[in-house]
Symmetry: C2
Subunit: 438 residues, 2 copies
């Protein structure tokens, strides 16, 4: 980064699109990152930081002195405040909270007590909230008094509370265009509005927004007191995160998102912890080969086909895993419907197993001219394809049913079992037909 | 499904949540599906169908007679109309279009000419649209005359056009609360509003909604005439679909989404086309083993470690692929930054390769007591881990840069190369040290 006054820097940064700002920021070293964030207005720094992945946002806030960090946090929407402080160390988060106005700190502390994927963790306090005793005139006065404060809110709906802060109604703001200014909100509002508890899960919220064309839903506590609102956008965001996280976990990135700007040791350690588990799972498959060493030594051509059997079965099984994960996330299959899924996979496995088995059998005969080698590898791949799609289809349902995360565990489980079965089939059949193969 | 009058059926269906309705519908045979959709009001059937995956929605519409299907399509938002008709055969789509009111059919035909992930394919025509010559009084009169028609719209903003239908301004509806009813929209609206062309890409829209806190953006043609609006929600939806589709493609589900309710032959054919390519890629790895047959026969213990080397390298490489895919989608890395990514992966590869190589070397020595076997497999896995993470990290960038789809091709390319290199390293080293291994 060039030397320059903070005004020049600010001008330069503000010319870039938000995406380019994020890219540029991630290319700086820590001293430069600090310099940029300190030079920006707290408001602009908050805007920039809220476009970064949360772990990155937390890391950068951690670089700043407490009062600068607090000034930036204060400009963020309340749900993001809680998320980003949750990714800091407790000491850092507390230091920043101490610098915030007392009321705001208390609000953030409360939001932080919820998980990111609960209604409480997704809700914001920025909303239009009026007493049911107010008149339309009072509301219009309030809107023009606080126009600036409300400018970031979604003002399509206002939420109406009684004198005990209990949510009693929702008011579509455009209705105010058609009514007399003396009317009271209690007479205009939609009563018994749909609301959710702060502990409502992401699945509940996805279903609610699927069923209703709402932009936001109010959150209440056990006594019906209004706590905040959850925007449809926040739910979509968490849903996307869940899908992305499933993809990363299925590829062996577990224990949280990895970005290449993170410390090397953390990246290596996280990846290694998953890889080490896989080494031990692999021993199962290796043991099968060790058991049949004599057969393999006698018919070394078999060794040429072992990786094909292993890889093709893994591929077929992964396809079935992907379809099960997709159907689970669409709600098109229940975790209990294992028999149904198994049968649907076996049908595909019979067709594809026959096609692949025949193909590999032909390759084997072309390779060394012995038709029995073709028979052994063909039958093994045919059978193992059916096993692989059965396991791939059913295992995600089984894991989900018993409360495990299907995205993390399905792949390694599948590979272990299909490799063991595949090697057992090839080498077991070869042992039975040994006289024909030599 | 039980026999029953359509009223009973309707009552029963309407009790279920939308998610349960979708699940229940997907469990019926085609005759029963037809019966349910015909029994429901067109409006309710449209609501139900729009919650299904598009391929399912299209299949179900295809079962109905043309006039029932057209009545349901007429109740859907305009972007979904185009999407679902796009998934029907041309003949079926034309038959349904012929039953729609002429103007609506023309609108759907035009929307269908855009891809799902272009602004034109995501836009809806349902919006508040006024002339700049209208007064606030005219608008309020129009709103109360058409309240019913507008009930599904997002009425936070109105779009203001001149007499040539060109977009000239945007009007936040709540501002109407604070102004005199005689004022003209031309004097109230925000002029020079941000708009996009109908051909704007999903990436453009994602960036726009990232940078601006809008709920919707207007779409104009080359002459600046207002065509429709794209809701943030539609962009989020397409973004989620793109991520899901990347996940499915990375697991070998290519050529479109697969649901187990689809015809068996289609499911088997699509999966098989991807698997067959993999068989031929596998021949590369098999050829390496074939080349070193004599070494393998002499030291059969090597065969026990080949699948471990192959699987572990594949796992390490997949982790790198996942991080690259994620950083590409977050815009945190550009496709040209291959050297940077390569170096970041090599650092992880050195650490994890050393750890895994040592672990497997120990296992090898425990297995047959020969330290040279440990040296061969340890060095091979160490080296191949570095190769695997290098390829895994760089290949997605390379594919993206040259216009290929990294989600489809990264996995198979990675596996092929890491298997070939892994087998070559183990067996090549063993050949060099053959006298120590026997």
């Amino acid at each position: 980064a060039q030397e320059g006054t903070s005004v020049e820097l600010e001008d330069y940064v503000s010319q870039l699109s938000t995406a380019d700002q994020c890219l540029a920021l991630s290319r700086l070293d820590e001293a430069e990152e600090t310099q940029v964030l300190e030079a920006l207005k707290a408001e602009d720094a908050a805007e920039l930081i809220s476009h970064l992945p949360e772990v990155e946002a937390a890391r950068m806030l951690g670089l700043l002195d407490t009062s600068t960090a607090a000034a930036i946090v204060q400009e963020m929407p309340s749900d993001e405040q809680a998320d980003v402080l949750g990714d800091l160390s407790d000491a850092q988060a507390e230091a920043i909270l101490d610098e915030l106005p007392r009321e705001e700190a208390a609000a953030v502390r409360e939001l932080s007590s919820y998980d990111d994927d609960e209604a409480g963790g997704m809700m914001v306090r920025e909303m239009l909230r009026f007493s049911d005793q107010m008149s339309v005139r009072d509301v219009i006065q309030d809107l023009s008094d606080h126009g600036e404060d409300y400018s970031d809110f979604d003002v399509r709906y206002a939420y109406v509370c009684d004198s005990d802060d209990r949510l009693v109604g929702v008011l579509p703001m455009q209705n105010l265009l058609f009514v007399k200014r003396a009317e009271r909100l209690a007479d205009l509002m939609i009563v018994n509005p749909i609301s959710v508890q702060a502990k409502a899960s992401l699945d509940d919220l996805v279903e609610l927004f699927d069923a209703h064309n709402y932009l936001a839903v109010p959150v209440v506590d056990e006594e019906g007191k209004l706590q905040g609102i959850v925007h449809r956008e926040a739910v979509d965001y968490e849903e996307t995160r869940a899908i992305e996280s499933d993809y990363l976990k299925s590829q062996g990135i577990v224990g949280g998102e990895e970005l290449r700007t993170m410390p090397l040791w953390l990246r290596a350690k996280r990846r290694l912890s998953w890889l080490s588990i896989n080494v031990f799972l692999n021993i199962g498959a290796a043991a099968v080969i060790a058991y049949f060493q004599d057969t393999l030594q006698a018919v070394i051509a078999l060794a040429v086909f072992l990786p094909i059997i292993s890889d093709m079965s893994g591929c077929s099984g992964n396809q079935a895993v992907a379809v099960s994960m997709r159907e689970l996330s669409l709600g098109l299959v229940r975790p209990t419907e294992m028999l149904r899924v198994w049968w649907q996979e076996v049908s595909v496995g019979l067709i594809n197993g026959a096609a692949l088995g025949l193909l590999v059998a032909i390759l084997a005969v072309l390779f060394n001219g012995n038709p029995y080698l073709g028979i052994v590898v063909g039958i093994a791949l045919f059978t193992n394809t059916i096993i692989a799609v059965s396991i791939g289809g059913v295992v995600p349902l089984l894991l989900k049913r018993f409360g495990f995360d299907p995205a993390v565990a399905s792949g390694p489980l599948l590979t272990t079992v299909t490799d063991m079965c595949g090697f057992f089939l090839v080498l077991g059949l070869a042992t039975m037909m040994l006289s024909k193969l030599i």
